[in-house]
């Protein structure tokens, strides 16, 4: 019996003292293995008197269980220590920027244009494209600007060989839209337009506009104001915007308006942004001139509508407070990667 006690104690001591998984495994084989010391002790029990054998057997089993659980405990301690040290060793600085491709950027004009296009599509507007090179007819005559009209002086035109021109506004798409879409119609036409102007911080010969037009049976100035307010509130992400209409002259609308928006920087009292007027001139609009409807093949006694022109380049400059228009078409990634 003393021998068993010794086997147990020394076995426990050796297991607890094992310094590695391998050492622990060696101890297990030596102690608990088929030819281990515990097995040897079991064999020697055969020599005992039968009455002693039963109690010795119990003791042997108890010792075996004790040793096995000591082994399991030690083994799991080794495993969790190993896992812990792996986890520890695998520390990473995840604050470091990712390697590989850095994100690109959509042009700010594309971004604002897409945003506005989505807004209009949600209101049932069709998005139309028109050519950048236009006929004199579509750019001027059909928009109620005959060749003798002084309004042609208002727009410095790039004339092309062959009698065509670079469109000075997106308005010619009004005519194309009226001829191609069924009535009632709602359309917008965003795109690139051209003016023969010297370039400086606030003037560009190439910029972007968005034309809008709605034609229905009964369209009033009251509808136009409502629509513009809704649109501008969405564009400027406000619940409401204050606007005012005042007379503005554009031959393709009658009446024609300049729409001003109350300065969003000062809210009305006047500041540098609104040149101390409290208002910022934002977009020209008006009821479609009957002559324009006629050129679009529409009977102006039955149908009427409104049209407006948004300056996309101007909106981009307002939104990001860009101080020099020349950045827009510069292709300079130091500028473009900011968006």
């Amino acid at each position: 019996m003393d021998q068993l006690k010794e086997v147990l104690e020394s076995g426990l001591a050796r297991m607890n003292g094992a310094e590695s998984v391998e050492a622990l495994e060696a101890v297990r084989v030596e102690v608990l293995g088929r030819k281990g010391v515990l097995a040897e002790a079991g064999k020697s029990m055969g020599k005992l008197a039968p009455e002693e054998r039963a109690s010795a057997g119990k003791l042997l089993n108890a010792a075996k269980q004790q040793l096995e659980s000591a082994y399991e405990a030690k083994k799991s301690a080794f495993q969790s220590a190993a896992l812990q040290s792996r986890l520890d060793a695998e520390w990473l600085d995840l604050t470091a920027p990712a390697s590989g491709i850095t994100p690109g950027a959509l042009h700010p004009i594309t971004q604002i244009q897409t945003e506005i296009e989505e807004l209009f599509v949600s209101m049932g507007f069709t998005v139309l494209d028109g050519p950048e090179v236009e006929t004199e007819f579509h750019n001027f005559d059909a928009l109620n600007i005959p060749s003798t009209h002084p309004a042609r002086d208002m727009q410095d035109t790039f004339w092309l060989e062959g009698g065509n021109l670079l469109r000075t506004h997106t308005s010619p798409v009004q005519i194309r839209g009226m001829k191609s879409l069924p009535l009632p119609l709602r359309m917008i036409a965003p795109g690139r337009v051209f003016r023969n102007e010297e370039v400086d911080a606030s003037h560009e010969h190439t910029f972007y506009q968005l034309e809008g037009m709605m034609i229905d049976r009964n369209v009033s100035i009251a509808n136009l104001i409502y629509f513009m307010k809704t649109l501008l509130a969405k564009i400027f992400k406000r619940d409401d915007v204050t606007v005012r209409l005042r007379p503005g002259y554009f031959p393709f609308v009658e009446p024609g308006f300049e729409l001003d928006i109350q300065c969003m920087v000062c809210g009305g009292p006047g500041c540098a942004v609104c040149k101390h007027s409290g208002w910022v001139e934002l977009l020209p609009c008006g009821l479609v001139h009957p002559n324009v409807l006629k050129f679009g093949g529409i009977n102006s006694d039955e149908w009427g509508g409104f049209a407006f022109g948004l300056g996309l380049t101007r909106l981009v400059m307002m939104r990001y407070a860009i101080d020099d228009i020349r950045w827009i078409n510069s292709g300079d990634l130091r500028f473009l990667n900011q968006f």
Binding site: I101, P103, G104, A105, L106, H107, I109, E117, V121, M123, G124, T126, V127, L128, D129, E132, V133, E134, P150, A151, D153, M154, F158, W159, L160, E161, G162, N164, L166, R186, R192, F194, V199, H205, T206, M214, D216, V219, S220, I221, A222, N223, I225, Y226, K229, R244, R246, P247, G248, Y249, P251, E254, P255, F257, L287, G331, D332, L333, R334, L336
Partner: protein, 664 residues
């Protein structure tokens, strides 16, 4: 255009509003006021000329005073007394050769004239509105222009032979030395006021030096005429000579104003040149003036356009306050147009919506949601396609640029694109913007060269139109995508990445070596991109003589063609997923240095396999070993090992029979 507040106040005697209030009211109801500035004791109200383009009457103080009187509901005082016009036989002969060019020409004759400075009040008034005082005679003509507005001219009568003035088209080769001492060559598209022996003045633009008023002048002819607006505009543009007079005539002035100008000059002569003697009657030659038809407008229609109610009597009161005549008959108004609004401005009932709307104030209209039919919009598939590509490229690290539509002759030549094949701009701003681009590549090249100064590597793209000249009609605009990958270091990462981009845009795109490398393309690194059996673009590296440091890989794709092909492109077909496992084997084929993977792939396909290209290994002897993987499966069973081996052997033999060497 500058307006003197004092002058306006003199024409609207009851005006109590201050200059600022007048400016604000003009902005909201008439035209855009750019500012109100003190000028001595007076104030100058500055109005944006562009907002007056359609209003010839507002190019003079009287017209603006009419508006102000209406805004503030005051009386307007007419400064002209037509009873001053002299009757009897005239001392001036006027001939009009073409009434289209000159609908009216009026003149009077003075003797015993003494040229002297004008009285102070007149000089100050002219100075206030930006006109330099010259002498009493010239100042009178300028006063009439700034007031009525009727530009006038005074001739030294002794320098006008037979006192005869002829309004006619200029003749080829005629010249006229104008008051600015410049000599102008005239042509038959221009109008002149001529004497019997040649041009005396460029009509509507500037008087001539030969008959100008000077200190010795003692006899004067005052003329006030009406000219064809487009002709004056064209002449002024052609001669590069814009004057206060031409700016007004080109707006289509009121022909009734010529005699008002004459009456005003007679009245002012009494004060500015008291000894002068008006001799003879007025000459006034004109073609019968056409009174436009009255516009019929019904109140219901007007209210519908405005989107608010308005009483008939208010409409009548507004229209009459600015000179319209109104005849009322139940819910219908017959509105006659005053002569000063009839030349260009008002002709249809929609014009009256503006007259009423601006005067009641647009702020008085309550916004109303429009009634709209529920029509789903037509989807713009071109934009959707382009925007999808934009998004994909941005997600892959590419930044969008937008370049100008212009190129220069020098650029076109540099890229060996024939300048004559481009649409040419007739009036370019600068030499380098004389042609419309037929390719996005020159712009992209500019982007690479500029950004190279700031970055070691970058990715960018543009979607824009190429503009191709056509024998007639509009040029053809073709949407293209250009993508560029620049890296300072030497490598083929850019070409590889762009190939991946092409394939993710166009599944199963083929790259076919191009033997026609363009001057800017690296001749050994250029392929055509084929899709759906059509050439749709190009992948290349910039020639080292273009991009001297670093390497720039570029894709140029014709998006218009691709989209057309896409519409015809069959949709994907579903094949049931094979439930039996597949087996695969690899084969390495040894090929000469410049063999093409695509040729080998096609050869293997010809032998009934779908190879997957794995690796391109350059052997020490310079040849290459191309590794392909073949995958086999059957729909009804698992392939046995022997079957795979047999297939492999068959393929090897097939390739050998085609003359290919296989790596052991």
């Amino acid at each position: 255009m500058k307006f003197s507040y004092h002058w306006l106040a003199e024409l609207v005697p009851g005006l109590s509003a201050d200059a600022k209030a007048v400016g604000a009211e003009i902005t909201m109801k008439t035209a855009e006021c750019d500012g109100v500035d003190a000028h001595g004791e007076d104030f100058i109200i500055e109005i944006d000329n562009k907002s007056l383009t359609h209003r010839p009457d507002l190019w003079g103080h009287f017209g603006m005073a009419r508006e102000v009187a209406s805004h503030f509901r005051k009386e307007l005082k007419d400064p002209v007394d037509l009873s001053l016009l002299p009757e009897g036989e005239s001392k001036v002969t006027i001939k009009i050769e073409n009434f289209d060019l000159c609908p009216r020409f009026s003149a009077v004759y003075f003797e015993n004239v003494k040229v002297a400075p004008s009285p102070q009040w007149l000089q100050q008034r002219l100075e206030a509105v930006g006109i330099n005082p010259i002498n009493n005679i010239v100042d009178i003509t300028n006063y009439a222009m700034a007031l009525l507005p009727q530009p006038m001219h005074a001739f030294d009568a002794d320098k006008v032979k037979d006192h005869t003035l002829i309004a006619r088209a200029a003749r080829d080769g005629e010249t006229c030395t104008a008051l600015n001492d410049e000599s102008y060559e005239l042509d038959p598209s221009m109008i002149v006021v001529a004497g019997v022996d040649g041009p005396l003045a460029i009509a509507g633009v500037m008087g001539g030096a030969s008959s100008m008023i000077d200190d010795t002048t003692s006899r004067v002819i005052f003329e006030a005429a009406n000219w064809h607006p487009a002709s004056i505009r064209k002449t002024s543009v052609k001669l590069g000579l814009r004057t206060d007079a031409s700016a007004r005539f080109e707006k289509a002035l009121d022909p009734e104003n010529t005699v008002r100008g004459i009456a005003l000059a007679i009245q002012l002569m009494k004060e500015c040149c008291p000894d002068a003697k008006l001799v003879g009657g007025m000459t006034d030659v004109y073609r019968p003036l056409i009174t436009p038809d009255a516009i019929e407008v019904d109140l219901v229609w007007l209210q519908r356009k405005l989107g608010r109610e308005i009483e008939q009597k208010e409409v009548v009161s507004i229209l009459t306050s600015i000179g319209f005549g109104v005849v009322e008959s139940d819910e219908k108004l017959k509105v006659s147009i005053p002569s000063w609004r009839a030349t260009k401005d008002v002709s249809v009932k929609d014009d009256l919506v503006e007259e009423v709307g601006r005067m009641i104030g647009y702020a008085s209209i309550t916004p109303q949601p429009p009634m709209m039919a529920v029509n789903p919009p037509v989807i713009n598939t071109v934009r959707r396609f382009h925007n999808g590509i934009r998004r994909m490229l941005a997600d892959n690290g590419y930044t969008e640029v937008q370049n100008y539509s212009f190129v220069s002759d020098a650029e076109a030549n540099l890229f060996e694109m024939d300048p004559a094949s481009h649409v040419r701009v007739l009036n370019p701003i600068a030499e380098n913007q004389a042609l419309l681009r037929t390719s996005l590549i020159p712009g992209i090249y500019g982007n690479i060269e500029e950004n190279r100064k700031h970055f070691d590597g970058f990715r960018l793209f543009e979607i824009g139109n190429e503009i191709h000249k056509q024998p007639e009609g509009l040029p053809q605009e073709v949407a293209h995508l250009a993508v560029a990958y620049f890296a300072k270091d030497d490598g083929i990462a850019g070409l590889n990445e762009l190939k991946r981009i092409v394939v993710s845009l166009l599944d199963e795109a083929e790259f076919v070596p191009a033997s026609d490398a363009r001057v800017y393309e690296h001749p050994a690194r250029v392929v055509n991109i084929r899709w759906q059996e059509k050439e749709v673009g190009r992948l290349f590296e910039f020639h080292p003589s273009f991009v001297e440091q670093g390497r720039a890989a570029v894709i140029d794709l014709n998006l218009t063609s691709i989209q057309q092909l896409q519409e015809a492109h069959p949709t994907a077909k579903y094949v049931p997923v094979n439930r039996f496992p597949s087996s695969s084997f690899d084969l390495a084929v040894i090929v000469p240095a410049r063999a093409l993977v695509s040729d080998l792939s096609r050869a293997i396909e010809g032998l009934g396999h779908k190879p997957e290209f794995i690796e391109d290994y350059r052997m020490p002897d310079g040849r290459r070993s191309l590794l392909f993987r073949m995958t086999l499966s059957r729909e009804d069973r698992t392939l046995a090992g022997e079957e795979v081996t047999a297939e492999r052997t068959r393929l090897i033999e097939g390739l050998r029979a085609l003359g290919h060497e296989l790596r052991a």
